[in-house]
Structure formats: C-alpha cells, structure tokens
Amino acid sequence: MLSIRNLNKKYGRFQAVSDLNLEIPEGEIFGFVGPNGAGKTTTMKIVCGLLRATSGEITLDGTDILQNIKGIKEKIGYMPDFFGVYDDLKVNEYLEFYASIYNIKGQERKRITNDLLELVDLVSKREAYVDSLSRGMKQRLCLARSLVHNPRLLVLDEPASGMDPRARFEMKEILKNLKGMGKTIIISSHILPELAELCTSIGIIDKGRMVISGSNAEIMQQVYNKKIVRIKVRDRLDDAVMILKEYPFVDKLLTGENTIQAGFGGGEEEMSRVLSDLISRGIPVVSFAPMDGNLEDVFMKVTKGDEEQ
C-alpha cells in the first residue's frame, strides 16, 4: 500500500533521514522504533505531505504522493507527536470542524462524531471544552480527529508518549480496535517492547537509517534468540555478502556503508567458521562483533553512527 524508496531528508546540511526504504502492505501494523532524534517524525511528516523530502520517492497505492497530494491526504489520517488544540471549542465541535473539512454534513457528521467519541471513550466529555481535557484525553481526541474521514492509512507519531500507564493501556486498547477494523497503521515509539504485541512488522531506525526491519516474529526472533553480528570490512562489501549467503544459518543481512548486519542461527563455532572463511577468501575484515541478544541492547547498539567516525 505504502512504499518508500531511497528517502532522504536534509535540514540544511544535517541529514535527518538517509536512504530509507520501506514497504507497508495493506492491513499491516508497522512499528517504527527509534530513539529520540532518529528521524521518525521527519519520515512520517513527509509521508503525510507536511514536509518535502530532499530526494526519494513515496507512493501510496502506486500513486506518487506529490502527484496528487489532495487525494493522498484523503486516504491518510495523521496524529502528530506534539500538537495543540483549539482552546475555545467543545469536544464535539472539534470533531465536527474536522469532519466539515471533509465535506461531511448533517446527520452523517453527528453519527461519525458519536461513533468516534465512543471509540476513544470520550462520550461523557462531548460538551466539555477541549482545553479542559487531560493530556491522555486530548491524545485520544486527536486520534479520533485523525479518523473523521475514515482513512485507510493511519500515521500515528508516538500516540502514547507522555501518558501514565493507565492512559497508555487505554490507548493500546483503542489501537487494537483499529487493527481489528482492518486499518493499515504506522505507529512510532522510542520504546520497542511497547509495540511488540500490537505490530505485525517492525523497523528500527537510528540516526536516519533503517537498522533492521522485518515481520514482528522475525525481529523478535532475531533480537531474542539469535546472535547479531556486525561485520565491518574495508572493501569488497558485495563479495562478503555473497560469502555470507552461502551459509544457511546466516540470514537477514542488512548492509550499510562497509558494514553488514547478519543474524546468526548458530553458536560461537559457526561464527568463527564464517570469520575464517571470510578472511581466507581475502575479504579485508576490520571487525566482526557479535552483539548481545538483549532487546534493549540491540536497540541501543544496532546503530550505524557510532562506527562512522
């Protein structure tokens, strides 16, 4: 449904997103994970037409988003990470305003407003001023707002950030509901475990680069059960990849500039075998570093930036 190819975004000379690739099929719940400043918000804003990419191509249902921006916006519902509300509107007026933008009128508008308030559990607050809501409620209202035009793709930027555990739980329940409704969702977070049970696929981004991506099961298996080895070579990256592919227990290769991220099914014995093979075939290996299988560790360590100095 959504396809991002070689996306780059520079703010002045600062590269916020580098060569990002992503395919999100219909019905997928994609977890977009990365520490603060990784480039999640930037990527999401570009997808929603709120920011221009420096280069790269994004298509939604095969249509370039720049080609028909209005049509694209009708298909996307966006919830920003930071947002304000109009302090002088009531909850139902707030939703009705956004509905009116999509030309939804009269009874239809009332019905949609009611349904959404029910979905986000704010029925009792319909006559309250938006400004008087708690942070968690505002966040739920903003989610409802992103749904008024019944979009097929939801882009949710850290919808649970800054919430207390109870509000977080409620948000998660709503998201599960949306999942059940068959929406395609991109949801970002800087905490991986938070997304684990919700998402069908996950991508980890750091310093603008996609570090790992795959199905939830793949990522989890890799993160929990397999060793991840980071191999750095001085040269002949492609040859190194070819050699690694010969081993059945090596999978999920991810390459960067002179670096390869490989998932190892075997133990230390297999690792040393592969390493000596690489060296004997003349690959200039600079480092061959297995990483701990711990989730948070991978998340912290699986980064490109710290090797590029």
Partner: protein, 299 residues
C-alpha cells in the same frame, strides 16, 4: 455551496457568548455619542434650529473618519496572529494534513478575522442612514464609503495574514503589519514630498502614482470628492486629481479609485504568496516536469 470550514469554525468561536454582542453594542454607543456630539456642536455653531445639510455632512465626516481610523487599528491586531498563532499553538499541521487547500485556509482566516471588523462596520450602517435622513448625503455616497471600508479592511487583513505566515512569532508579525501600514499611510507621503521637491520644483499640483498606495490619500480624496472640499492636506497632495479641478492630472484616475485598484491587486498577491508559504509541498516547475515525465514513462 460549501462555506469555508475554517471560517465557520472561527465564526462559531468568535460569536460565542455575549462578548461579541457586547463589543458591537459598545462600538455603536461610542459612534452614536460622537455623532450626537458633532451634531450638537454644529447646531450651536450655526445658532440655528433648522435642519441644515452642513450638520449631517459634519456628522457624516466625523463618523467616517473615526470608523476609518478604527479599521486601521483593529484589523492588524485581529489578523497578524491568524497563522503564526496556529503555529505557536501547534494546530497548523492538523489543518494542513487535511484535504483543505492552503488557499482555503488563508481565505478562511482572512474572512473570519476581518469579518469581525466588517460586522462592526455593517452594524454602524443604520447610524449612517440616520445621518442620511438629515439630508446632504446620498445613498450612493454612503455605499461608496462602505465599499472603500471593506476593501481597506480586507487589504490590511491581507497584509496581516502575509506577515503572519512569513514570520514565526505573532509579536513580530504584528509589528511588521503596523509598520507596513504606517509606511503606506505616512512613508509614501514623505517619499512623495522629497520627490516633488527634487523633480517637480515644489509643484504640488502633481499627483504622484506612489500615493495610490496611500489609504489616507484614498480616503481623503473620497470624502473630498463627495463634498467638493479641496483644502488643507488634500490640496497639498494634489488629491483633487481626476475630479476635474486639476488640469495637471486631468487624465489620471481619482486617488480613491486608484487606491482601491492598488488594494485589490496587493491583496491578491499577498494572499497567493501566503498560501504558497504555508503549503509544505508546493510544487516547483521542475517537479511538475519530473512527474509528467514519470507518468509518460509508465504508459
């Protein structure tokens, strides 16, 4: 027909409660007091109790001037925060990510924020009509005046919106809006004076095109033309140009008409630039070519 949703929302908020009605009532009260005061003064001046057109002309001019000054002061305050305020409150992205086109957001904001002033102007209409009953003023002249008000309000509103989209902070935007207005109202006169002094050897009969941009000149010339009053600053600026009195500028158009044309052009340009500014993905010519080529390649 679809009414601009941004406008409708702002209308709902601005008209809620008694505040809006209170402002209108207060405004009318002040205007009425002014009118009564002028009528009273003129009556006592003339030592007469009969109804004289001078009286209504005096009241009309007084009301017209006050209302004009009011527009110049209120509209910037209401528009200069229109977009920057949304940016500061972090609500702009929420509208920009909808299907609403940037130009609709801009015009919705413009109509809503100048609309409040327009409402005051329209509410004062009955007061002007009362003056009209005293004689000396035609309905056409009142309509002309109100037309001029509306054009001026929308133009000042467009200037406010322009700065509000191009500057980050509402305070900066407000300062620049008033500054621009001060330049149009006074700066152009200074430039005109220098110009006349240097190139026309103090020949004040010339009307300089730069003064078409001056709202005061436009307003003054409108009143002057309505009552055939040529004196003081009007003569100084050559404001009688086009009214047949001034041979030097016989073929130039009236300053107020010129000002209206200038205003309309300026507003359109500023609004289009504002819409382009808030459009996060505005296409350059290059993009259009690139996308066209891609479509062609697919076929």
């Amino acid at each position: 027909m679809n009414i601009n949703p941004v406008f409708l929302k702002e209308l709902k908020v601005r008209m809620r409660g008694w505040k809006a009605a209170g402002i209108i009532a207060l405004y009318l009260l002040v205007l009425t007091a002014v009118a009564v005061f002028i009528i009273y003064t003129v009556f006592t001046d003339l030592y007469t109790s009969s109804i004289d057109p001078q009286v209504s002309i005096g009241a009309y001019t007084g009301l017209a001037v006050i209302q004009f000054i009011l527009i110049m002061f209120i509209v910037p305050a209401l528009t200069a925060g229109a977009i920057s305020g949304e940016r500061e409150k972090q609500t702009l992205d929420l509208v920009l990510c909808t299907r609403l086109r940037p130009i609709s957001i801009i015009t919705g904001k413009l109509i809503a924020s100048t609309g409040q002033t327009l409402l005051l102007i329209i509410a004062s209409f009955p007061l002007f009509s009362m003056v009209f009953l005293f004689g000396g003023i035609s309905a056409k002249e009142i309509m002309q005046l109100f037309g001029f008000y509306i054009v001026t309000a929308v133009t000042i509103g467009s200037i406010g919106i322009f700065f509000s989209t191009h500057l980050k902070r509402t305070t900066a935007s407000t300062v620049f809006t008033y500054g621009t207005l001060a330049f149009l109202a006074f700066g152009t006169i200074f430039i005109g004076v220098f110009y006349i002094r240097i190139f026309y050897n103090w020949d004040y009969q010339k009307f300089l095109p730069i003064l078409y941009s001056n709202p005061l000149a436009g307003f003054g010339s409108l009143l002057a033309e309505q009552f055939g009053y040529y004196g003081g600053i009007n003569a100084f600026l050559g404001l009688s140009a086009g009214s047949g009195q001034n041979s030097n500028a016989a073929n130039a158009i009236s300053p107020w008409l010129g000002n209206i044309i200038f205003d309309v052009v300026l507003s359109v340009v500023l609004l289009i630039m504002s819409a382009a500014r808030i459009n996060p993905v505005r296409k350059s010519l290059f993009d259009t070519v690139r996308i066209k080529r891609k479509i062609k390649n697919k076929d």
